[in-house]
Amino acid sequence: MNVLLWAAVVIIGGAGSVIRFLVDGAVAASTRREFPFGTLAINVSGALILGFVTGLALGHDQALLAGTAAVGSYTTFSTWMFESERLGEEHQLGKVAANVLVSLVLGVAAAALGKLIGAHL
């Protein structure tokens, strides 16, 4: 564990968050419906990429940077829950259930698919 590695974690973490911010804005702008498609797209695509990284079976440092730092910062659990809770406040229980279940099911499926692809490379 060295200073350079942690410096890279910081920079990659910042960059991953900025990418999430931009993707969320772009998806939200193109889907004019009151459903958090931006976060869904980010989280499912992130799960696919992290599954892929996991499947590659990289060394410790590479996995830390590509997985934990990059993809980990790109995806978000807190915004997913925040948007679900706000939909709940509006009594849109169908959308709450859809947002929670679709993210979870597609997330695990995407991670499995990514891992499969990564392991066969």
Binding site: A69, S78, S84, G107
Partner: protein, 165 residues
């Protein structure tokens, strides 16, 4: 976070913005907002995300765990991030004067970088792979239930503090 004695002039100014709606208008707007590239906003997201990611990565490194053990590092950062996000965003939208960079810094950046969805999914996949279905279901259910509750609780805490007109 700047200190905010509830009920100062700034708080009162915000009241006019939020009491008319149900608080959801801001959220809806956010989903629809066209991404405008604002350097200060991007810098704020970057700074918050860097800090959140550093904290999450440090915790993950400090407490490694086998795939069939409860992922405490991920579980903990996700819940802390939910509580903080509920607190920050509710305060910023309903209690504090409009600010262009606090939500990107604290919400999108810090909480987004601190929490992670992808690691949780890969952890669940690992539990399923180990045929530990109970752990997988329990971890998913506990994360979602506690995460939702943390947002709800933080939001309620902020709203308990009245905005003085």
């Amino acid at each position: 976070m700047p200190p905010d004695p509830a009920g100062d002039a700034a708080g009162a100014a915000v009241a006019g913005v939020t009491t008319g709606g149900d608080g959801s208008a801001g959220q809806t707007r956010t989903w629809r907002a066209f991404p405008r590239i604002d350097r200060q906003e991007i810098a704020a997201v970057f700074a918050g995300g860097a800090l959140g990611t550093l904290a999450r990565t440090a915790l993950a490194e400090a407490f490694p765990h086998p795939p069939t053990a409860w992922p405490w590092p991920t579980f903990t950062v996700n819940l802390v991030a939910c509580f903080l996000l509920g607190y920050f965003v509710t305060r910023l939208l309903e209690r504090l004067p409009l600010s262009s960079y606090r939500r990107p810094l604290l919400g999108t950046g810090l909480c987004g970088g601190l929490s992670t969805f992808s690691t949780m999914q890969v952890e669940i996949l690992g539990m399923i792979g180990a045929h530990d279905w109970g752990l997988a279901a329990g971890y998913a259910a506990a994360s979602i239930t506690a995460g939702y509750a943390a947002i709800y609780l933080a939001t309620a805490m902020v709203r308990r503090v009245r905005v003085r007109a």
